[in-house]
Amino acid sequence: MRPWSLLLVLLVALPLVAGVATLPPHDAPDAPIHTQVGALYLERGVAETGMKNLVTAVLLNYRGFDTFIEVVVIFTALAAVLALPKGSAPLPKGNAPLPKGSAPVPKGNAPLPQPDAARSQGVGGARSREEEAPEVASDVPVSPVVRFVVRLLAPFIAMFAVAMLFRGHITPGGGFQAAAVFAAVFIALGLVLGQDRAARLVPVDWRPWLQGVAPLAFALVAWIGWRLTGAFLGYPIDDHTVQEAMGFVLEIAIAVGGGVVLARIFLEMET
């Protein structure tokens, strides 16, 4: 087996290394990215899309369909996580469905490795103390240092995400980045404060709508563009106010929808 895997690795690695070796040097003016379609975007982007951040222009306008499908993919990932059966016992039989081809399943139930056994006792003890405490949080008490630092930094990180969202039209960043940072703050708080307190940040009644808001907003904006220009996801090329408004709605929807999806995946895994 090993010679074959080595051959396979070489077959994959050699073209990759060759590709890296032939990359144009930094700042080369005649590099392909400066002469192909990128040059066209730079030349016409601001006039055609009304967006000063050309990354956003490519993301929402020139490549709008890609981004639409992308938010649908993120939404589908959450749908897949939610479709998994919940509430299976974590440890004693927890590693039941081993991948096919490995050791037969019953064997996995027999003697547990040392750390697992110790841990399952810990969980049992915690359970008897308070029933509804989240397992990960109750396993080991959160270090006061970590708790303090996370609680201290959380508002500033959240503000950074908001700034990225609302300054995204002139600075790097935008909906996706803001979503990722929002979710990171949420998860950090969830780990430190316990999942129950973090879960309250996303109201249960709103969850279905918040999780789907990015694809929904995209569909809405695409429909509006269709009414205005006759093209699905079309932007009225001569009305920069409407263009900016459409882009703004999309950015906010991506930030909220993406953040809530990531947060919900975290919540689902913790319970």
Binding site: H26, G94, G108, L112, R119, D139, A183, I187
Partner: protein, 81 residues
């Protein structure tokens, strides 16, 4: 100068990737994998893609690491031989 930076970073990426693949302790693998993401963040930033760098730092090094850690906490830390 910038070539040197690239070479060091790419070497670090390869080293971390190989270490992750070879690690039998999954907790160590996850931590090293988050280091891979952070290195990748530097590469993106160096290549002039701050948007991608921010996403990589938040999602690659932050969110996925936590999700992996939760998975380990709920299953087992040792890779089955």
């Amino acid at each position: 100068m910038s070539d040197l930076f690239d070479i060091v970073m790419l070497a670090l990426l390869i080293a971390t990737a190989v270490t992750v693949a070879r690690a039998r302790d999954l907790l160590a693998a996850v931590v090293i994998f988050s280091m891979y993401s952070l290195t990748m963040t530097l590469v993106w930033q160096h290549r002039g893609a701050p948007d991608v760098a921010m996403t990589e730092a938040a999602v690659g090094a932050g969110v996925t690491t936590v999700l992996f850690l939760i998975t380990i906490a709920r299953t087992t830390r040792r890779e089955k031989p």
